[in-house]
């Protein structure tokens, strides 16, 4: 096992800048998820760690060793591909033992390690099968098995669950997490699915347009998104954003919406009277039927059994509200909603950066 240190790494394709000055330290044994929309550079970064993409500038270390010019085969890493990339002409056992065989490991040892990994993944009965004779989920496991047999310094995952159906994806998610808790191998996991990121990561790295937006624990990112992008990307249903104008009088600070309704915000925030801001409120932080004065008109109701999602209009903008329990309200109704000052995230609309309270 080893740490991974990425220092000022850049990637250009000609004049096109795919990654600009990425810095990231991944601790030994940590499970880090790189997340972002497609084209954000997360896969490129992973492939650079793997050695499959050249590094235009900067430095990547695995452990203490600078690996910029080390061939993939000598980096002591294992990678699980989105397509699984199983060797179609080899059976499961050969697929899993291929890397050991290339290292000229003794046959008995290969046999033992493959057997142990297969058992752990429930593949022991499929060892003699060819990949085409397996289901999608089984293939995914073989790809995992091929990685763990090697006992590498670092595991790299490139959207390994994207090709599975929803139910299996949730199941494999848990399995990969459990596996990591046992093996404690440093892992870098790329996904575009923020739920996967939230559920699996020790730390999440949110990327956008080749730039790291924020690095933090899942709940850190959820509770204190650094900017509008992270705020909108993390959480499902996503955060509601409303433009507002700050009005400050003495100790009270309010954000005034375009239709004149006001929401109280944290008075310690560094905002001035008359300043334009964007406020963000998570759907579950909006209280339904409180005595508060805010009024929202219901457009669509989505009953989920345990909870209900309301899509409403507030100050002419769509606002999603997530409430526990069920409702007998109807679309077209107007309902009272309440928002606590502490739950309102405030952003600078020009820069997109979060505005924090004075220290």
């Amino acid at each position: 096992m080893a740490s991974v240190t990425i220092t000022n790494v850049q990637k250009n394709y000609g004049a096109m800048n795919v990654l600009s000055a990425v810095d990231l330290s991944i601790a030994d044994g940590e499970f880090v998820v790189l997340v972002g929309p497609s084209g954000c550079g997360k896969s490129t970064l992973l492939r650079m760690i793997a050695g499959l993409e050249e590094i235009s500038a900067g430095e990547i270390r695995i452990g203490e060793r600078v690996v910029n010019d080390v061939a993939p085969k000598d980096r002591d890493i294992a990678m699980v591909f989105q397509s699984y990339a199983l060797y179609p002409h080899m059976d499961v056992a050969s697929n899993m033992g291929f890397s050991l065989m290339l290292r000229k490991t003794a046959k008995e040892l290969v046999f033992d390690r493959v057997g142990a990994a297969a058992k752990r993944l429930g593949l022991d009965v499929f060892l003699q099968r060819l990949p085409r004779q397996l289901s999608g989920g089984q293939r995914q496991r073989v790809a995992m098995g091929r990685a763990i047999v090697r006992d590498p310094q670092v595991f790299l995952f490139d959207e390994p669950l994207s090709n599975l159906d929803a139910k299996l994806r949730v199941h494999m998610r848990t399995e990969i997490k459990a596996l990591h808790q046992q093996l404690k191998t440093t892992s870098v996991y790329v996904t575009h699915d923020q739920v996967e990121a939230m559920t699996m990561a020790d730390r999440i790295v949110v990327m956008h347009d080749g730039v790291i937006q924020q690095v933090g624990t899942p709940l850190d990112l959820y509770d204190h998104p650094a900017n509008l992008f992270v705020a909108g990307f993390i959480g499902s249903p996503g955060m509601n954003f409303l433009p507002a104008v700050v009005s400050r009088n003495n100790t009270e600070v309010e954000a005034q919406l375009s239709d004149g309704q006001t929401i109280a915000i944290d008075p310690r925030l560094l905002v001035e009277d008359g300043e334009r801001v964007t406020i963000g409120i998570r759907p579950e932080n909006i209280e339904v039927g409180s005595a508060d004065t805010l009024k929202a008109k219901i457009q669509v109701i989505e009953p989920l059994g345990l909870s209900t999602q309301f899509y409403t209009t507030l100050a002419d903008l769509q606002v999603c509200i997530y409430a526990m329990g069920r409702t007998d309200r109807k679309p077209g109704d107007t309902m009272n909603i309440g928002i606590k000052a502490g739950d309102v995230h405030v952003f600078n609309p020009a820069t997109g950066q979060r505005i924090d309270p004075a220290a």
């Binding site: 793997a50 050695g51 499959l52 061939a71 993939p72 085969k73 980096r75 890493i77 294992a78 990678m79 591909f81 989105q82 397509s83 699984y84 990339a85 199983l86 060797y87 179609p88 002409h89 291929f98 890397s99 290339l102 290292r103 060819l130 990949p131 085409r132 004779q133 397996l134 999608g136 293939r139 091929r146 090697r150 090709n163």
Partner: protein, 282 residues
Amino acid sequence: MIAGRSRKARILGSIGLYTAVAAYVIFALFPLFWTLKISVTPQSLLYSEGITMWPSSATWENYKTVLRATDFPRYFLNSVIVSVVTAVLVTIIASAAGYALSRFSFRGKTTVAVILLLTQTFPLVMVIPPIYRIMGELGLTNSLTGLIIIYTAFNIAFATFLMQSFFDGIPKDLEEAAMIDGCSRSQALRRVIIPLTLPGMGATLGFVFTAAWSELLFALMLISSDSQKTFAVGLLTFIGKFAVDWGQMMAASVLALIPACLFFGFLQRYLVTGLTAGAVKG
């Protein structure tokens, strides 16, 4: 099977399908049957019996004459040498070129591809005079080596595109996975890519073999002595000044089919597609 269709409709569908296939097979194989039929018809019955599906008496006489009394075995051997060497050479070169075109980006890649394509666009007849002159200067007329060189050159372009498409069909991920697993690029090529490309190489080998085997134009222009003739040229020796010896010509043709059939019989297992199924998602 489509649910909801009645048993009767399904049977009728199958009958229709097989009838169509059978009709096509008959259409395609009938000329071959006719060749076979004439090759076993005695000379005396060839013009006297009218059109029949099978002669009233069959004979091996034509085959005996072809094998014993003509230079045909020599032509035959020449054809085998030229075709096999050409097929192997072209497959090796085209595989290497196809792999490069499929996997690497290098300066002049587009130019190379366009030039390869250009060579396929003009009629061969046009280039025969210059080629004849070049080969003459090089002392390669009337030689099998000369034929091999020309056949190789003319088949490489198409074979390269064919091989490129086979390499394109193999996911890049497989190579990358192999490289992460501990292969160098050449090991990945040898252990993962080539085993998966064998059907493509088989197809290319078969294609080039057939092309070289039946080539007439260049062989006719460049070869003059009996000892260097390929069978396609040799077949013409059965056309005399006053008569065509149909029986012997057809017997020779049937014999010429045998190596091609054997060759494809041997290649068949490599031609089975779908070997890459199961590599990636599905």
